[in-house]
């Protein structure tokens, strides 16, 4: 079936560096994408979302890029901090409220001081 995957299971960076977490999706009909951050023992936390009619969206220290041509999604974190250490999941769905999210397996981001 359709699924969302991530290129790298782990990413290690130094504090202050910029981080880029990548995700490839397979369902070309998906029109809504979300990045979640999950810390140990907690539920996923919404970071940022983007609709398919956009190719870039910025938040506070985070930017999501969407390339529909190659079905690729990325999350950029500026000036990465130790508190950013977590597992990051991308998820895709349709725009209808009742559509379930399809998650990838996650990328573990480790930030060292």
């Amino acid at each position: 079936g359709e699924s969302v995957g991530l290129h790298l299971p782990t990413l290690s960076v130094q504090e202050g560096d910029n981080s880029i977490i990548n995700c490839a999706y397979s369902n070309s009909a998906s029109d809504y994408f979300i990045w979640y951050k999950q810390e140990s023992g907690k539920g996923p936390q919404f970071i940022i979302d983007i609709r398919s009619n956009m190719d870039k969206r910025q938040g506070q220290r985070v930017t999501v890029l969407l390339n529909k041509t190659v079905k690729h999604l990325s999350l950029q974190i500026a000036a990465t901090q130790p508190g950013d250490s977590a597992v990051y999941f991308c998820a895709e769905s349709g725009t209808q409220a009742g559509t379930a999210l399809i998650f990838g397996k996650g990328t573990t981001l480790s930030v060292s001081s």
Partner: protein, 112 residues
């Protein structure tokens, strides 16, 4: 509270017993979802409720799993005759008419 809450936070049970997991969604959110997350894995969709429509049960792994949503708010996920492979974190999420899903802290289920 402002977020999605789930109870209990941890549940240890013996194989063959039934368990009930509770989810209180964010007030006003029309959709409610249940997911399962095994150790080190992504989230596996189980079931969702949208308003008064019939729930989408397509993700339930077996007929031992069922869920209800009463009054369009609180939901209960029931697992009958639990098996060791049911051990996981069960996450609930709610969603407004438009936008992302907001997750609760999850219930960690351990079946001995």
């Amino acid at each position: 509270g402002a977020g999605v809450s789930q109870s209990p936070s941890n549940k240890v049970t013996e194989k063959g017993k039934d368990v009930e997991l509770r989810c209180d969604p964010i007030s006003g959110h029309t959709a409610l979802y249940w997911y399962r997350q095994s150790l080190g894995q992504g989230l596996e969709f189980l079931i969702y409720f949208q308003g008064n429509s019939a729930p989408d049960k397509s993700g339930l792994p077996s007929d031992r799993f069922s869920a209800e949503r009463t009054g369009g708010s609180v939901s209960t996920l029931t697992i009958q005759r639990t098996q060791q492979e049911d051990s996981a974190v069960y996450l609930c999420a709610s969603r407004p008419d438009w936008g992302g899903q907001f997750f609760g802290p999850g219930t960690r289920l351990t079946v001995l």
